[in-house]
Amino acid sequence: MNFLLINFFLISLLLVTTFFIFKTTSLISVVALTGAFTLLCSAIYVNLDAVDVAFTEAAVGSGISTILMVMAAAKLPEGKKNKLINLFPSIILAVAISLILIIIIANLPLLGDPNAPIHLHVVPEYLKESKDFFHIPNVVTNILASYRGFDTLGETIVIFTAGLGVIALLTSNTLNRKTNFKKNKKNER
């Protein structure tokens, strides 16, 4: 019972944070609110017994990502209070998607049900065998590094590619558009 209450409280805090991110125009406060959002999420993960995920979310999601966003926001101009675009179609889309999601969630097994199909396949073997194979008590580490090591290798490749992309984007000065628009602006003045 306690578990459900804490979860409900944290999720309603998440909703409030999302609403304020939607409302604010100042970029730096949007970034700060995003940091708060991810920190709340890691609290939810602890509540759901996913300590490793909470650790990563607090370090990577709330730490590194917020630092990157602050660095970007420092270089960008203040956000302007502009009108919202596409308001009407997006409301329809949002309502439709939430209806679909609610219908799907009604068909899922109950939260915390130990006999849900997800808990019956593969995972019992992982829980039983991994201690004897690798001598590490943390099952998440065992799966991440050993059973599914190739997935982790793929993840590393993705991050490497993203890093290359960021470097390429930030150091290139030779886009055609730039000269065009700078000329136009000079003519106007």
Binding site: L15, T18, F19, I21, F22, T25, V30, V31, T34, F37, T38, C41, I44, L48, D49, A50, V53, T56, E57, V60, G61, S65, L68, M69, A72, K75, L76, P77, K80, N82, K83, L84, I85, N86, L87, S90, I91, L93, A94, I97, L101, G112, D113, I118, V123, S130, N138, V139, V140, I143, L144, E155, V158, A162, V166, S172, K178, F181, N184, K185
Partner: protein, 104 residues
Amino acid sequence: MVGGLFIIITSQNYLKKVVGLAIFQTAVFVFFVSLAKVLDGTAPILTKMANAYSNPLPHVLILTAIVVGVATSALGLALVLQIYKNYETIEEKEIESLELKSDK
């Protein structure tokens, strides 16, 4: 989750769109982890005291996905910075009007 989608579509500011994408992602992560929960279970670290553990497999998937998500948003931020360098604004409508002007 729908809130994140809503922000992506309605905001004009490109940085806010990247933030909306991150929120969207995080909502999906919370959903996945909630599937792994077992009532009366503990975190999947083997001890002699516990008799039920929550499912470790979704945790692994989400660990991978969080890191990839940060890489994606870093790429998005780099794109936004480059857009600002070229157009000197990151509001969608202003960029549109600049484009129209250059076509004439």
